[in-house]
Symmetry: C2
Subunit: 412 residues, 2 copies
């Protein structure tokens, strides 16, 4: 441990540029129903016209629109019912002027018909005779061939996330198997002489390994596969061999070190001697999270995270998640997108110029507004994490925010 | 098919009361790392004081605060360094007045020490002599026993969702295995003579089974386990036996019927004769989604969903999801909670009084505001689903919304 340490910090903006220099993982082809939340690795074009036939969008009667022109409640048009369309079958009948065919929503329009009259605007007088009370326009309640998608049309873009609605569209196109990026594997290494596994009762002066489990949850939510490699004592050979191992097995490595300057130096020493190692960032101008390290080994990202749990969460949210999404193939304009809500700050908050501050807040609904209430208290406490609903960001150039300021709360 | 059909519709509010009458699933105990996103089935109290020892929150020197009183840059206090605290070890030394012990963040305070002086406010003149430039207050940079959690304190509540931060807290408490509600199994049955499996090339007049796959995605995102039972033709015996089967295997059943009145009647006929069947709702005063059916069989919910894909999605979001969450054990105040953003309506929207309208919108960022742009077009089209970012709700008592009205967009 040195008494004083100075290191050149990197701005968050620069760091977010750096994370885009890492290559993304390769892809795989999965059955459609396993693709929820995954990232498309190819553009998807339609191989068909959809629908491939004219469909009714209402229950009623397929007609030629001209047979109904001028019809009204007082002067209904009189048509002859010449049959019915069975669902899922090609109609056996066709429709001439003055004729009508019963049809249900989704049914295929018979030849000759160009419009559908809703059941509410018609009345069958007997099996063959139909009164229509309203003039129908051509193509009314009809979906035409290719109205949804045209053959060859680009439907979904590479790099987009597959939501339930995209699953529906892929189903409609007959894409039973879908090309998606592999989920990046993220190794977690906990280091520190004071850290014990959670199943162990910590001795006095020891602590359970909280970060590994918070990170496991965060990695999963961000589309990665966590790979917990365990706890390593502050022994340079052990940490080095575990890190080499991690780089070989995983697409990204998180080293959750102790929070002391000593432990950070130690992590730096280990990273420096990894294969093809390059230290990219040693210190970021945000708070909490300043002691963050980002390095590259064999084209893979190695993070040294702060040991304090709340700091590690903020660093993950603001920096690690966008990189995990980027190497997972998500398109640039969606990286790090978070759900935010508007609120009003409940008290004055001081901040230091020259760094971005992230403050944990609780949302409190009062009268007509949502207040963001900063969660204060000693740093290093775990319980502040579960009391918080989200984070607010205070700009690098701000000296603080006044009570009543409108803020955006990044939910977590 | 009947020419006209009248049915008594239920308000959304009444339906949302009804869904709370279904029992929730039982629970299971899982390894902590498998609990992300799951719902706690028991309150969790702390079995320990956390921390169990006084910890430093900064790198520096453990001292008696009184040894530093009056210290300044020009008149530093002079202390004797009597040792160092090793991480993860109980200190071998104690601290008397005028003495200091090196300590790192997270280290255990030695006996006698009541304060930590940051490394930035001290300078070691030699191995044994320390200058301190700033007066330290008692308990400065110290976390005391139980500051985080006190033994016996309620920490997490039954019915709350386990986020990464809750995983961290559970780790800190040594909860290696966690009681959570089982994930409800939701059976999906597609019915309709026109529906074919997605791997099949539909004949003219047929359509691929889109809803089953949209619903699979939605169920997964809502904490359920989808169980796709396949497509059944409009044959009353087949649908009845598949439904009985579904009620036996699943915690909830979704029948994604055709959209025609005929297919709805058919679904009703089948549901009525299920064991202990009770029709609770037949028609809801929302649009789209009016033809929704909710019934109960053997204490389980059976839904008849509209066949149109966009309508089925809205019904799922607004009604099925809250029920799925409720039977999955989520506490009442979180049911159906959705991420929303504020926006301004880009054009006038008409609405019909007496029903709630849900309109699909796209978010467009313009100048200084986010606009919600309604996605219009023929009903029954699939592509409107993937173009939309969310839904806006138009109140039952409203005749519509004017361009420029501030709206809340429910993201999906």
């Amino acid at each position: 441990m040195t008494d004083k340490e100075f290191f050149k910090v990197t701005s968050l903006g620069t760091l977010l540029e750096l994370i885009r220099t890492f290559p993304c993982v390769n892809d795989e082809v999965l059955p459609l129903d396993q693709c929820a939340g995954r990232i498309l690795s190819r553009d998807i074009a339609s191989r068909i016209d959809l629908p491939e036939f004219k469909r009714a969008t209402m229950d009623g009667y397929a007609v030629q629109a001209r047979s109904t022109f001028g019809a009204s409640e007082s002067m209904p048009a009189l048509l002859t019912i010449v049959g019915a369309v069975e669902m899922g079958e090609v109609p056996m009948v066709s429709v001439k002027t003055g004729e009508a065919v019963r049809i249900a929503t989704g049914g295929m329009l018979p030849d000759g018909a160009d419009s559908v009259v809703m059941v509410e605007h018609a009345q069958a007088l007997d099996e063959h005779t139909l009164e229509i009370f309203k003039s129908a326009a051509p193509l009314q309640h009809v979906i035409e061939i290719g109205d949804d998608f045209r053959r060859g049309e680009q439907i979904l873009l590479k790099g987009s996330r597959i939501r339930p609605q995209e699953m529906g569209v892929l189903a409609a196109l007959g894409e039973t198997h879908v090309p998606v990026y592999r989920q990046p594997v993220v190794a977690i290494i906990s280091s520190g002489d004071e850290i014990v596994p959670i199943e162990q009762t910590p001795g006095l002066s020891q602590l359970r390994d909280v970060n590994a489990h918070t990170l496991t949850g965060l990695i999963g939510l961000s589309g990665g596969v966590p790979l917990y490699l365990g706890i390593v004592r502050d022994n340079i050979d052990d940490l080095h061999s575990l890190c080499k191992n991690a780089v070989a097995q995983a697409d990204m490595v998180l080293i959750s070190g102790g929070s002391s300057v000593g432990s950070r130096d130690f992590t730096m020493d280990v990273i420096k001697v990894l294969p093809d190692a390059e230290i990219l960032v040693h210190g970021v101008s945000i708070s909490p999270g300043k002691p963050t390290i980002l390095a590259r080994s064999k084209q893979k990202g190695i993070w040294g995270l702060p040991g304090q749990v709340a700091s590690a969460m903020v660093v993950f949210q603001v920096m690690v998640r966008p990189m995990l999404e980027a190497i997972g193939g998500l398109s640039e304009d969606h990286l790090g997108a978070a759900h935010e809500v508007s609120a009003v700050l409940s008290r004055n908050l001081a901040s230091v110029q020259g760094r971005e501050d992230y403050v944990r807040v609780k949302l409190v609904h009062r009268a007509n507004q949502v207040c963001a209430e900063p969660i204060l208290g000693k740093s290093g406490l775990i319980h502040t994490m579960v009391k918080a609903d989200g984070l607010i960001r205070i700009d690098m150039n701000s000296e603080g925010l006044d009570k009543g300021t409108p803020v955006r709360v990044i939910l977590f």
